[in-house]
Symmetry: D3
Subunit: 71 residues, 6 copies
């Protein structure tokens, strides 16, 4: 083990994914004192209409906030 | 928290996903008496060859049922 | 489908879980116009040391905020 | 129940997915002595930059190993 | 890869879990023509108030069905 | 986002979980250049009979290896 599922928005470059996977693996191996070889990371990317906070996409929230400021 | 992962078949419109995310967030906040701001929803869509019941895709099941009726 | 995984903190009563499962099922069936019979919900409860925002448990965050106010 | 989430690399054919879903369903129903009708399988495919062992993609690991042999 | 998450109701014995893990691993390795060494299985058990079909636990469904027959 | 699910064997102390959550959050925020406040981590612990490699628990694998050496 550890097996780590990372959920993120689409749009990161392959380079960014490589970087975060390497950094998280190092952080896990150091903190749990286990071999990096045992750490597996799965990245799942979600479309802009596939992630919601308070029932709104990030775009909907930004629009709502902009409107609040104008009002 | 609550963090909610919704698995569904591909093919829903963005409008349908917005609608279900808003409705589920409202249902969770009301039932658990928590703020909607703490509710996060992740939607993962599965291809038609990525979901199986009894070892068959929905298309395979429909075909099997149609054949049963004919037989 | 839809299959829904709900992650929440431990501590909810069975009654609360029944209530949220019924409400979410109704919300999904209505929004996606599918039969409630196709909706499955899995609840996973996480211990207080099993959920982190900004690298802190909810207790650590509350303590940090209380300290900020005092300072 | 049982609900089974299978994570695999992209690139399998639809035929391979049908085959593995049927075989896993049969294995689960036989081992747990439950009806195949209750077994649901969700397949999630991960891109080549979406799976890491020891902080490296499969391609990075293969390249590192090849280099070790040459050195 | 493949990484397989199995969700099931609590109550299976350790022997049953060993059996299903071995059988599923064999089925995956054979179907996808990959080494069994690459197959990882994670079992998550859900409490009786942690799994719902049509918004009801298995006990609630059984009770509802029994009542239908009597009515 | 990012939302991170960490699967590990039971047995880590609360202190170890705090440590790994803080380290992973820092690694993700730094690598993806996002605010730590947006990073959520869910830890799921699996029993010794809830994780399998090549169809065997860690104990079964250790026993098999010990036997190989003796043979």
């Amino acid at each position: 083990m550890p097996i780590i599922e990372m959920h993120m928005m689409v749009g990161r470059t392959t380079e960014q994914k490589h970087k975060v996977a390497a950094a998280v693996t190092e952080a896990v191996a150091r903190s749990l004192e286990c071999s990096a070889d045992t750490v597996r990371i799965l990245i799942t990317e979600h479309a802009t209409d596939g992630f919601y906070v308070a029932g709104q996409t990030m775009a909907q929230r930004a629009a709502a906030r902009a409107q609040e400021k104008t009002a």
